[in-house]
Symmetry: D2
Subunit: 137 residues, 4 copies
């Protein structure tokens, strides 16, 4: 994770007192951004495969997952004061779509190595969102 | 609403058979895009007001609402086959954040006319998301 | 075009004095949003076609065009004070990618009716961006 | 940088032969994502400052910079085949807006530590975009 992510959160005028909470927030944001980007690249890699016709569902879910992850990261950039209800609901949706995308990509992981990387990034993000929901009040 | 929105949905290979359902989908997408954009412009208008210090919560909620609306519109562009679970959950989150943003902006509507326009766009989008959840299986 | 788009621009504290200029700004924003959304739906429709393998380039360009259009609309939501250099450069890039996407989709328009709708939306947006560059100082 | 970013690029069916080129692409994508997110957080931090009225220009430029960076990262997720003209133009716009945002934030860096972090992230991204333009054909 880029050290600037938690650094900027620590310099926010409403910064969380606990550096552990800030690190958790930064980690979740980082997981969302990485997952969004890996999903987009996995979608593009699927498009380049000979077997693209069998990967259409994967491309679509990759793109949906990327949207949810990016929206979540954006909303979390304004979460220094804590998680409000909408942010919590969005984290749950994000965790769910990451779980679904991880499952789908894992199903192609033996044949397509980019799907293996994507499944791992989605699983990470699924857990990072759940963890943040438990840690932050 | 731009007629091309429902036109392109009607030319999708998995287009919904019912033109009414397609119109409802197009209407919800349109409401999300309009709301996202109005929220961003309302945020910028708030930033330009002398009383910006009292409008900071409005700017933040406007930006959150815009993110949720835009992600929802994007995911709905892939919903010709129907609403899966994640799309339904995202529609609920979007409806909720629109309701919250409508309430906040309505509270400033007498003083700031851009907040009045924004409250109306948010209320529309709140209902369009709810309606789509009820109409589409 | 949704009337709220120009309405909110007219209620911005730094609103352009000329209602014609505001209408032009609103029209360009609207064209960008419509084009972004039509491109995403066209990409999804291409994914659903039997001949998806021959449409991969179209899916990719659709997605690129959608990103440029959406970023441009977002930046234009903060352009009530006029177009700064970055906004002007972004409008040029947006106009260019719309022209490229219009050309590509027009090439498939006889076979795929969604590409015809997309080509028209891209052409509109190409011109709306160019027009705004000429009208606004 | 998250190692999965270059890993997924290396598993793309059209992956660049040179691992150095792939690393450079991954590094630029990473810089764009970090810059987008830091800019959004810096904007939110500015909103929380007592002196927000003097920081409005910074909030706006932060938000514009975030949009350009994110669009660039997205388009670069489809750049495994190389940089086409639109991608190159977008990289130039992104580099320019990062330079402008770095300059503005650097002007507040003594007073606001989040602006210092943001200025650094913007400067990094400015150079990463320029570097990619020079390295990739």
């Amino acid at each position: 994770m880029n050290p600037r992510m938690s650094s900027v959160l620590g310099r926010h005028p409403a910064a969380m007192a606990s550096s552990e909470a800030r690190e958790q927030l930064a980690a979740c944001i980082d997981s969302c951004l990485v997952c969004a980007q890996i999903c987009k690249t996995c979608a593009d890699a699927c498009l380049g495969e000979d077997g693209v016709k069998g990967l259409v569902g994967c491309v679509r879910l990759d793109l949906d997952c990327a949207e949810a992850c990016y929206a979540t990261a954006s909303v979390l950039s304004r979460a220094s004061g804590g998680l409000d209800r909408v942010t919590r609901d969005l984290l749950r949706v994000c965790s769910d779509v990451c779980a679904a995308c991880a499952d789908m990509c894992a199903g192609h992981a033996e044949e397509y190595a980019h799907c293996l990387v994507c499944a791992e990034a989605c699983r990470d993000c699924q857990h990072a969102c759940k963890d943040l929901l438990e840690v932050l009040p």
